[in-house]
């Protein structure tokens, strides 16, 4: 078997006294779509931040394709792409400029052709010279996705990429994700639309209060629960875990 694209070993993340992630170990394999599910505040974004460089784990190690994200950060950051949960945009630059800048920041030679190609893919070519501020919410989010792809990452994190995106574009976005996977990109996504995860994901991880309750392939999970919807299974697990925590 191939070595995992992502390997987290005993990752703990604390903010002061608060523990956001507790001794979390997880492997993600090449070419799969992995859905990280969990209620608000479960620690999904925190885990993604530790992997992508926005935060540092308190304990444990994280490897991307065998490279340590702390020691070999220059290598791992070129391998990893991130669509952050919070929409951000630089009011000083247009979508085209933002993409060109992001290429340079990710260490690839800026190419106008590639930037224009990405704008077309994400239906932003009409807005390429607009002030980014004037883009609609969904357009801004699509720009974020485009920005995350400028360096052809091997491992892509999508932290709630469909929040606030209309149905049609959501479908298109997931098609794009499928295409990326077909081209060999490994994808880790979070979403609160459980049915999206059910459609897309090869494997599912459920995170609750910083701990992984379950990591299983979608098929075996659904089979084990006699064909019930993933959403039902998810809710049951979370409620059980909440009960455990209350007790």
């Amino acid at each position: 078997m191939k070595p995992p694209v992502l390997r987290c070993r005993h990752v703990t993340k604390r903010y002061g006294k608060f523990t956001a992630l507790e001794d979390l170990s997880l492997e993600v394999y090449e070419g799969e779509i992995f859905a990280l599910l969990g209620p608000n505040g479960a620690g999904k974004s925190t885990l993604i931040h530790c992997i992508t460089g926005l935060a540092k784990q308190t304990k444990g190690s994280i490897e991307v394709l065998g490279f340590d994200t702390r020691r070999d950060f220059r290598t791992t950051r070129r391998l990893v792409g991130l669509v952050p949960q919070e929409i951000n945009y630089d009011p000083f630059f247009t979508p085209l400029e933002s993409l060109m800048i992001q290429m340079g920041l990710m260490g690839v030679e800026p190419s106008r052709e590639r930037a224009e190609g990405l704008l077309k893919t994400f239906a932003l070519d009409e807005k390429r010279d607009a002030y980014t501020r004037t883009l609609s919410g969904g357009m801004k989010r699509r720009l974020l996705v485009a920005k995350s792809l400028v360096h052809d990452p091997r491992l892509l994190f999508l932290d709630e990429p469909t929040a606030g995106v209309d149905v049609e574009l959501r479908q298109e976005l997931w098609q794009e994700v499928e295409q990326l996977r077909a081209a060999g990109t490994t994808i880790v996504l979070t979403t609160h639309y459980i049915e999206e995860a059910e459609q897309l994901a090869d494997r599912v991880g459920i995170l609750h209060k910083g701990e992984l309750l379950l990591v299983e392939s979608r098929e075996s999970l659904l089979e084990r629960h006699g064909g019930r919807a993933l959403e039902d299974i998810y809710l049951e697990l979370i409620r059980k875990a909440d009960g455990r925590h209350v007790a």
Binding site: T52, G53, L54, R74, R78, P84, P91, G104, L105, G107
Partner: protein, 237 residues
């Protein structure tokens, strides 16, 4: 180390302030021209000489230095703080760039802005009064030293600040008083005690003094050594 990443961040920072040049370049120019008009031309015609120099010439180096101090601080602090608040700092944090290169890019761009504006202020000053630079070496040294230091201070301020008004603390409560008490507009020899003694420890004033030093080399050297000592010892403490 990838030079593309460093270059991109540096150029991005330069483009950021050039896009808003009305605020970043023109506005300090207008402000200092007003200072020249009011203090240099209007008041200066009555004040005649300070330390043996015509008053209007006396204010030139201090104003240039004050502008450079302010602009290098403002450039890093506002850029970094804005990206912290609007979230675009994410783009940089996920990039394959180390802390040192980040520092280099931010500080370098801030120095460029400060030096451009400082030069323009100097050119404006030249339209009011003839003011040759006597110590090119010291001028270059101090320009680099002061702008780099203040740019780094701006980074610290941006990382520490949680709200916009936190950023204004330095320019309003530190820099402006230092400029006024530090001998930009008058010789600190004219100040009564204890302000005279206090002002002698004001590095901003000293830096300005050195820029303007056209007379005694030795005094310049001594002043500079003292300042260097202050900075180095302060850095170790």
């Amino acid at each position: 180390m990838s030079t593309i990443v460093l270059k991109t961040l540096f150029i991005k920072e330069i483009r950021r302030f050039s896009k808003v040049w009305l605020q970043t370049v023109l506005s300090p120019l207008v402000t200092t021209s007003l200072y020249f008009l009011v203090f240099g031309v209007a008041l200066g015609s009555r004040l005649r000489e300070i330390s043996g120099v015509p008053y209007i010439q006396f204010v030139v180096p201090g104003l240039v230095m004050m502008t450079m101090i302010r602009d290098s601080f403002l450039n890093t602090s506002s850029s970094l703080f804005q990206s912290k608040i609007n979230g675009t700092i994410t783009d940089i944090l996920v990039a394959p760039i180390g802390a040192f290169e980040m520092l280099l890019a931010y500080v370098g761009a801030a120095m460029i802005r400060a030096i451009i504006v400082g030069t323009l202020v100097y050119l404006v000053a030249l339209t009011f009064t003839w003011f040759p630079l006597h110590h090119i070496g010291w001028t270059v040294f101090f320009t680099i030293f002061v702008t780099a230091t203040l740019a780094m201070l701006g980074i610290v301020a941006a990382l520490w600040a949680e709200r916009f008004d936190h950023l204004a603390i330095f320019p309003n409560f530190v820099l402006l008083p230092l400029a006024f008490l530090g001998g930009v507009f008058y010789s600190i020899d004219l100040l009564p005690e204890p302000w005279n003694t206090i002002s002698r420890f004001n590095p901003g004033g000293r830096a300005g003094f050195v820029l303007g030093a056209s007379r005694s080399h030795q005094r310049v050297a001594a002043q500079w050594l003292q300042l260097a000592k202050l900075v180095i010892m302060g850095g170790q403490a």
